[in-house]
Each structure stands twice: as structure tokens, then as C-alpha cells.
Amino acid sequence: MTGSTVDLFLLVGAALFALGAAGVFREVEALRRIIAVNVMGSGVFLVLVAIAARGEGPPDPVPHAMVLTGIVVAVCATAVALALADLSRRHGSSADDKADR
């Protein structure tokens, strides 16, 4: 791949990471924060894929393996986060009721 394309991927990856990180710290709503974490992760994966594509010849397989592992981790983590967010929302409504009384 040409150098400028790789640079573009690296920049977009870094931008996505920064956007996601800002989202995790600034958002309050659980679902938005879960999406923000995933955006962050996509940024890292994009950077890794771009690093793999640098240089001549076939791409470097090591970063690809890292992205695959990373995606598995991200799927698990998202599932746990969604389950917790759902539980928290159900509990949250009852806690608010108590506060009203």
C-alpha cells in the first residue's frame, strides 16, 4: 500500500480513538458510553491494520492476529456492558421510585 494511504488510515484511527475516549469520559448515558468504547476500539484496530500494511510485499500478519483477538475481547466486553446497563436501568427505575417517596 502507498505511504499516503497508510498515513490516512493511521490518522483516521487516531481520530476515532480520541473521539471514542472523549465520549467515554463525557457521556452519561450507558448505551452512549458503550458505543464510545467501541469507537475507541475501532480506532486502535484501524491503526493496527494500517501498521500491518506498511512496507513492501504482503501485509504483516502479527497485527492482524492482534486485531482478531481484540475484536473477540471487544465483543465479550460489549456483551457484559450491555447486560449490566440493562440491569442498571431496571434497578434505576425502582431506586428513583424510592427517592420520590
Partner: protein, 487 residues
């Protein structure tokens, strides 16, 4: 079998037990106790191997670095694995005793055992990982298991605390992973030993160092990133609180030590090392101050963890320019072991208080010494170690750090260490004071299992007795000096 081969058993044994516990819930308690019993001998065997050969290593599947994944253990790994095995053993016993008896299996216990065993597997894997990407995977395994364990408490507070913990944990890991990506992009290497030779002081390496350090600070709850710790650690069930404070937060600290005293040693200047020590000092003062003012026992203990983690960060500036780095490191490691055992003991004792009285507000501790004499004694002994009174391991650790700091004229860290001890004495005495008020009745409102009481006592006794055998971790650390992996 050579001890090198053991390295894959350390994570594999609890992992297999976790699978059994999940697939066959009826067997979960037995699987958990079996794995917990197998781990101390395995860890001891690993330590003997390290003493003999300095460093153990096992290239998984016969693939050597840079292509394959290497498991490695040196003195520091062996000490951490031993801590996980011993503290994990007593926590497992306490858990088995404090859940309802055979035949009744609560929802909570159904999920406790698989997650707890997964946590042990992740921690063991973390402490024997030889490359930075494998460390990321282990961080995530321990993180997700720890978050889910907090949630097993089931209360709305616990769920909210777990969710907050999860976001900090996930974003911390991703900061770390971004650092790994940049590091690999610059060097083409992931192996910790190989990285030491190839990391140069160029801007990408500095960015990687900043990202990884930031991410790990979040996971280790170093001040000012500690905000998630007290709610998560105080709302979890007792055995989980004990494991989180004693073991899990040490994982991030361990990686930071490896990186700062390994690949990033050339990048980290005197300024950065004083700065991270300064954060540690702030954590000691802030954490202790908060601990003094908390209304509930478990919150006091959780804020005490924030403070005690600060001590471990004082190790960075004190060991950095020490003439005898191994002595300074021994101080830090003994302090870490002291905190691991003492904090687990206090959290288990707090669990017994909760079980007996129904709540853990500080005034409710009145009568504890009569109702639960063993738990009260455990809290007192562990308090001795947390304050750092002789002859406990807490005292030996602080003493070694003070000596190393004074040798270099870094007297300000000594002042912080002493101030921290005074503040710790205040919050410990605040807990023990009401415990010795005599109650009206002889019996606590609810009975508490004797095993649950004695496991807390055993850990507390260990935190004091370790002071007499502090030479053992020193020997382990000294055995692998110069092996290329050791800090």
C-alpha cells in the same frame, strides 16, 4: 517434569476448573476448592524453579519470540503468583463457608465460582506473560471477571459501581492497547525482553509510554484515577472485595513496574519518576483522609486501598536511583504482600460483620470483640500490618523503603511514609474503638461460620508473620537479577 512446563499449568488449572464450575453448577464449589488447593503447591514449585535457575520460560507450542508467545517467570512473577495462590486459597475457603450450605445454591454462588476461577486464571496468566500484547489480553480477562464479580452482589449500588468500573477498565485497556500498537509499529517487537534492546527515545515510543502508563494508572486506581475503586470494592460481596483490593489492582501496578524499569527505562527521566511518586504521595494523603471520614466499614477499607496503593508508587522514585535496587524492590514487594494479606483479611472480617449484624456502619461495630472475637482480632492484627508497626511485614517493607530513600537524600518520601502511617493508625483505631465496647447480649444477631472467621484470621496472621520471613521474597528477587526480564 521441568518447572518450565509449570508455567502453562498456572493459568490452565483455574481455567479448567472455571469451565467445570460453569458447565456443572452442582460441582462448582468442589471444582473451586480443588483448584484453590492445587494453586499454592504449583506456585511454590514455580518459586523453587526460579530460585534454582533465575528465570523460567516456556515458548508456547514451541514457537519462539518474536513469532510465538513466551510465558516467563522471574522472581517478581514468582512472588506475585505465590500471593495469588495463598490469598486466593483463603478467599476460596471463606467463600465456600459463607455461601449457604450444600443443597441450596443461590443465584449468586452459581456465578461466583466460574468468575472467581476465571479471575485467578487471568491473574496467573498476567504474572507469567512475557509479551505486551498477551498482557493486554490478561488485563481484559481479569477486568471483565472482576467487574462481573462486583455485579454478583446484585444490589442497585453494586450494579452501578460495576458499570462504572467496567468503563474505566475497558478504556484503560484500550489506552494500553493503543500504546502496544504504536510500540509494535515502531519496533516490530512485542516481547518484553526484546523490547528492552530496541525501544529508542523517539516520539512514537514516548507517546506509547504515555498511553500505556495512563491506561494502567486507570486500572490501578492511582490518584486521581481512583474514583471508581471505593464504590466497586465496597459494594461487592466480601470475598470479591478481598480479591479486588488484595490482588486485582496489583496487576496494573505489576505491568507498570515491568515497563518503567524495562523497555521504557531510557525514556523515563528523573522528572517523570518524581512525578509518579508525587501521585503516589497524593494518593496516600487523600485516600487516608477519606478513609478517616467514611461512615461504613467497607468504605473505610476501600479508601485505605487507595492510600496503600500510593505507597507502592513511592517504590518508583525510591528504587529508580537506589544504589542497591534489589533492596528497594524488596521493600516494595514486601509492602505489596503485606497489603495483599492484610487487606484481604480486613475485607473478609468486614464480610463477617455484615453477616452477623446486617450492616457495616462504623457504630454497628460495637460489641464485635465479644460477638466475633476472632474477626475482631483479625482486624486488629491486619491493622498492625496496614499501619506498619513492627514486627509486621508492613513495617519491614516501609523500613526498607525509608532506608533506601534516606541513602539517596530523598527525605520527602520518608515524610510521606510516616504521615501515611499516622493517618492509617487514625482510621484503624476508629474501627477498633467501637469493637471493644461491650454489647448487651452475648450472641450476635446472626451466627457466622467459624471457617469464615478463621480464614480472615489466617490472612491477618500471615501479614504479621511475613515480617519474620521477608528474606524469602528478597531471595526470589535476587535470584533473577540480570536475567534480562527482571526490573
Amino acid at each position: 517434569m521441568s518447572p518450565d512446563r509449570l508455567l502453562f499449568l498456572l493459568p490452565l488449572v483455574p481455567l479448567l476448573a472455571a469451565v467445570v464450575a460453569f458447565v456443572a453448577p452442582g460441582w462448582s464449589r468442589r471444582a473451586g476448592l480443588a483448584a484453590a488447593t492445587a494453586m499454592p503447591p504449583l506456585a511454590l514449585w514455580t518459586a523453587m524453579g526460579v530460585l534454582e535457575s533465575g528465570m523460567l520460560s516456556l515458548p508456547l507450542g514451541g514457537w519462539t519470540a518474536p513469532l510465538g508467545i513466551a510465558l516467563r517467570a522471574d522472581g517478581l512473577s514468582a512472588v506475585m503468583v505465590l500471593a495469588v495462590a495463598v490469598v486466593g486459597f483463603f478467599i476460596s475457603l471463606h467463600a465456600a463457608a459463607s455461601f449457604p450450605g450444600a443443597g441450596v445454591q443461590t443465584h449468586r454462588e452459581r456465578f461466583f465460582w466460574p468468575l472467581w476461577l476465571l479471575l485467578l486464571a487471568g491473574l496467573n496468566a498476567l504474572f507469567v506473560s512475557g509479551d505486551v500484547f498477551n498482557l493486554y489480553v490478561c488485563l481484559e480477562i481479569t477486568g471483565i471477571a472482576a467487574v462481573s464479580l462486583v455485579a454478583t452482589a446484585g444490589s442497585p449500588d453494586a450494579i452501578r459501581a460495576a458499570l462504572r468500573y467496567l468503563f474505566v477498565s475497558l478504556s484503560g485497556s484500550l489506552f494500553y492497547l493503543m500504546g502496544v500498537a504504536i510500540l509494535y509499529g515502531g519496533t516490530g517487537v512485542l516481547d518484553l525482553v526484546l523490547l528492552v534492546e530496541v525501544v529508542a527515545g523517539d516520539p512514537p515510543a514516548i507517546i506509547a509510554c504515555l498511553l500505556m502508563t495512563g491506561g494502567l494508572m486507570m486500572k490501578t486506581a492511582l490518584f486521581p484515577m481512583h474514583f471508581w475503586l471505593p464504590p466497586a470494592h465496597s459494594s461487592a460481596p466480601a470475598p470479591v472485595s478481598a480479591a479486588l483490593s488484595a490482588l486485582v489492582v496489583k496487576g496494573g501496578l505489576y505491568i507498570l513496574l515491568r515497563l518503567w524499569f524495562g523497555p521504557f527505562a531510557d525514556l523515563v527521566g528523573d522528572g517523570a519518576i518524581q512525578w509518579i511518586g508525587g501521585l503516589g504521595a497524593a494518593a496516600i494523603v487523600w485516600g487516608s483522609w477519606q478513609a478517616i471520614h467514611q461512615p461504613r466499614l467497607k468504605l473505610v477499607v476501600a479508601y485505605s486501598t487507595v492510600a496503600q496503593l500510593g505507597y507502592l508508587f513511592l517504590l518508583f522514585p525510591i528504587a529508580w536511583s537506589a544504589a542497591d535496587r534489589t533492596a528497594a524492590f524488596t521493600g516494595g514487594v514486601v509492602l505489596l504482600l503485606s497489603h495483599a494479606t492484610a487487606k484481604a483479611a480486613v475485607f473478609l472480617a468486614a464480610g463477617n460483620v455484615l453477616a452477623a449484624v446486617g450492616n457495616d456502619r462504623v457504630p454497628s461495630l460495637c460489641g464485635l470483640s465479644r460477638w466475633l472475637p476472632v474477626s475482631a482480632f483479625a482486624m486488629g492484627l491486619a491493622g498492625v500490618a496496614l499501619i506498619g508497626l513492627p514486627p509486621s511485614a508492613g513495617f519491614i517493607g516501609k523500613w526498607l523503603l525509608v532506608v533506601a530513600a534516606l541513602e539517596q537524600g530523598q527525605w520527602w518520601w520518608v515524610a510521606v511514609l510516616l504521615l501515611g502511617s499516622v493517618l492509617a493508625a487514625v482510621y484503624i483505631i476508629r474501627l477498633l474503638g467501637p469493637a471493644f465496647v461491650m454489647p448487651d447480649s452475648d450472641q450476635p444477631p446472626n451466627p457466622v461460620s467459624r471457617i469464615a472467621e478463621w480464614t480472615a484470621f489466617a490472612l491477618a496472621a500471615l501479614s504479621v508473620l511475613l515480617g519474620f520471613v521477608a528474606i524469602w521474597p528478597a531471595r526470589l528477587l535476587a535470584a533473577s537479577v540480570g536475567s534480562g526480564f527482571s526490573p
